[in-house]
Amino acid sequence: MTFPHSFRTLAALVLVVLLAGCATQQPYDYSAFKESNPASILVLPPVNKSPDVKASYSVYSHITLPLSEAGYYVLPVAVVDETFKQNGLMNAEEIRDVSPNKLYEIFAADTVLYIDVTEYGSSYKIISSEVAVTATATLVDLRSGKELWKGVARASSAEQQQNSGGGLAGILVTALVNQVINTLSDRGHEIAGIASQRLLTSNPVNGILPGPRARPISAR
């Protein structure tokens, strides 16, 4: 008599734990993002905090695709980089210090996206063959200076490629990224593509919101 009872209690407990596990992710507060309703994004050259000097421009050359497919106008990254160089700003740290006012004056974008690459390549050897990339992003309104969104993503060669998330938009961008990386032999750059996609695809779970050029939800 007591045995099935305690079994039932146990089952209930397991269920509670499982449900709680699903609920731990706090929904992101998008009120500032929605209020700003940006159409264009100026992405600055990422600041590299990994030991690999290639990290910054590897990630920088990947970010246009996910953000554009999310429905934003992304200012041309190589041209933006050239503009900074012609103005004497040669590295990402110096560029990071340019004030939002000055950025708005030249680029007239609605927002600026700051990226940090915190892990790139095989710097942390958990498994000897692992190549991993981690990046964080912060979206700031260039007119008000308000932070609109923050995200972090990691990709690693030691995982299965299937669970990249992001629903249909995720599948789409995965397909596009795979198309690009299949032609490359540079493993770090390849993993950087997956990390960039995870970071910047308009993901329903705490991701960047779809921009004005995105297809209506029903068509996606």
Binding site: T64, L65, L75, P76, A78, V79, D81, E82, A109, V180
Partner: protein, 118 residues
Amino acid sequence: MNVTRTALVLLALIAAATLTGCVTPPQPLYYWDGYQQQVYQRFENTSSAEEQIAALEESAQKARAADRTLPPGFHAHLGMLYAEIGKPDQVRQQFETEKAMFPESAQYMDFLMRKFAK
């Protein structure tokens, strides 16, 4: 009776799960082709401006043939490369195209035309 019903529900669930796995992704908004690789090559300096222009012009032709839209920044990037080999007419044309396709770029394109096309 009850067992068959459970089995049917289970089958339906498996079918649904299998089908969701096979959903074909929607068509991308833009025709990417080799644009992202060209941006990377530009940063890595692994090919000349002429080679990069040739690759991008080929992509542009394929996009026209497929009646697809080139991604944001494509024409501006091409304009910058034309500036490097001293072709001011093409520079202006590419920046104007970027501006027409994406009015969000207007102020920056005007800034670039003042700088490059001098």
